[in-house]
Amino acid sequence: MRRGWRWLLPLSAIPVLALLAYGFRLSPRDIPSPLVGKPAAPFALQTFDGRPVSLDSLRGQVVVVNFWASWCYPACYEEAPVLERGWREYRERGVVVLGVDIQDKTEAAEKFIRDFGLTFPNAPDPAGKVSVDFGVYGVPETFFVDRRGRIRAKHVGAVTDRVLREQLDRLLAESS
């Protein structure tokens, strides 16, 4: 073997090391949703107050579907007031905030709603069907559904005032 070839050995390690270094820029839990841009799956739930709510009935409005759980601390606790503020600010402009409670116990969920004084509709998803329909893999996750019923954005983690405002302004600006 000619003299030069042997140095291939240490050099061959470099691409592997580079790949591992690249790994730092990624978050393994950050899974992009394949549903963005697709129509949201229809659902029919019953809120904790006993009222029915379905996706069809909300057609024509911008819907914020927020998946949460009472045991999801601290993120759900951080975003609950944000959602409540957003609801109060935007409800007159054709926006509905809907909270979907998953993998939870009724009393704990109702206590959560009471503690944060949430006035937007919240419904439990007992069999987890809606959460799977939306490709939810953790809480909290928030989906922004436009007037035509398409999922336009997904936010993983606690939602902030700024994100809420940006998405809602964008979707409200679109014509139906």
Partner: protein
Amino acid sequence: MTPEIGAGAVMVALLLALYGSVAAAAGASTGRTSLLLSAQHAALGVFLLVTAALGLLVYAFLTFDFSVRYVATNTNLGTPFYYRITAVWGALEGSIVLWAWMLALYTLIVVVRHRQNARELYPWVLAVMLGVLAFFLLVMAGPAPVFQRMIPVPNDGRGLNPLLEDTGMITHPVCLYLGFTGFTVPFAFAVAALATGRVGDTWIALTRRWTLVAWYFLSLGLLIGGWWSYHVLGWGGYWAWDPVENAAFMPWLTGTAFLHSVMIQERRRMLKLWNISLVVLTFSLTLFGTFLTRSGVIASVHAFTQGSIGAFFLGFLALVVLTSLALIAWRWDALRAQGELDSVVSRESAFLLNNVFLVASAFTVFFGTVFPLLAEAVRGEKVSVGAPFFNLVNLPLFLALIFLMGVGPLIAWRRASLENLRRNFLAPVVIGIAAAALFRVAGTASALTLLTFGLTVFTATTLGVDFTRATRARLRMGERLGAAMGGLLIRHNRRYGGFVVHIGILVIALGVMGSHAWSVQTETTLKRGETTELAGYKVRFDGLAARQESNHFKVVGTFTVSNHRPNLAVLHPSKKFYPQEQAPIAGVDYRLGLTEDVYLVLGDFARDGSHATIKLQINRLVSWIWVGGVIITLGTVLAILPERRRAG
């Protein structure tokens, strides 16, 4: 004061280790023994300091010293005594302390054992060991400080991760780390060999026992990890091909390959380049494993935390890999001495094939583990590579290895004549096929199971044939049976120790085969008093009870298991609710048997105890895996005994 003293000890240890490493290297290249002696003293100093740091940490845990942040985050007033000790290595920072302590201990042992018998290599060995130690101390001083002060001092701590409150926690990390750190020694010797140009057999002969010990602890650590997974995590399996499990498995594979290929170098003075590369690869994989566990780059059960620590490990890994490979390239000519073989059909070939399959398996596991990264880098896609892939792809490799385990020990060195092949293998082949046929007749339909079983019997028979023949030879010379067998084991302890280890592996293989092929499970909801049935077992739900434990709230179910014997066992699977954890932790209960385990997991339940959902599994032959581990222990002990040529 504790945090400050501890941090100070770590700092001084780091400086000493750095100094010692440089001094040893300087002593090696200039030949000045005063430098070397100084480095030895530094090594001793480092050991004492790290021991003190570890001791201080244990003391802090035992006395609930919440002024140390690490103690406050990993224990609380309710944590039982023994778990307070294991909590020391229960999270990232503490695990590094344990690792560093073991390295320091091994360095000291190297000093004591090898300063006389390895004069030329020893200085470089010490330099490398202290260098690696310095790195881990640097991590302890920098990104993963274990002695941080907590202000204000809380009244109670957060508590240990409940999954870690288990006896497995006491042994699994300790064994694994003993294995990982153990491989530092052969690596240090390899680097010393490269640095001094003495790339012959000396370094291998000196490290044989080190390699065996490290390999053994790694094997034990893996098996205990499997056991812990089985009886704590509640999913009914023992191996999930989780990235961190893979990270420990890869060095095991290459380490096993190394154990075998050194035998060729010992006999035939061949494969120097290959052996040195293998040991560098094995050590690098141990570093890679620790990088994976701690960097958060790939999601896993074990992932400690993210942060800059990943960058540290990757940097060190890069340093080690690039330097070692460059050294190999530098000494290329000396390593590539000519080799000669008489025949393709020989033990040398069998060992070469063994290496091919082991390293191929390691490569497969590696590629599969980092593939999600690659897919995202190249295509921006998120993909998963999980158990189905690894099982499917590794299966043929493992079957080939089982076959080679049977061929290798008996086939002749140099050239195996037809006569030799017939004498050694005809009977095992016939018996293997007959066993598979019998199994088929007994009802097993799966070709895969039959193949596995047949190969296992084949290999077991070859071992039996060899041992019987050798015993008979001794009997003919007038010895009695006991003395003959004992004498064989002691006089040829390396060979027969290896045999016993192989038998252990075969038993594990059968356990894995049985658990995959014949285990059954079901999920059902029972009302109180109702019974469900599976595979001849009846399980009756008797009721639920709830109680408050020292640091959690526990709901326990009572289930009576019967088969042909009524009231065979009463099982108590539970759900534990820890205040600091979001979801309840399932507590499995099981009844182990030699051939069947009854395994019960409690799922949802009604508050009033009127019904409960359970997952019931009847797992077959899983216990054989643990028994195999015991056999491997016996074999390793036998193989590691000093050679006694005159005995028996």
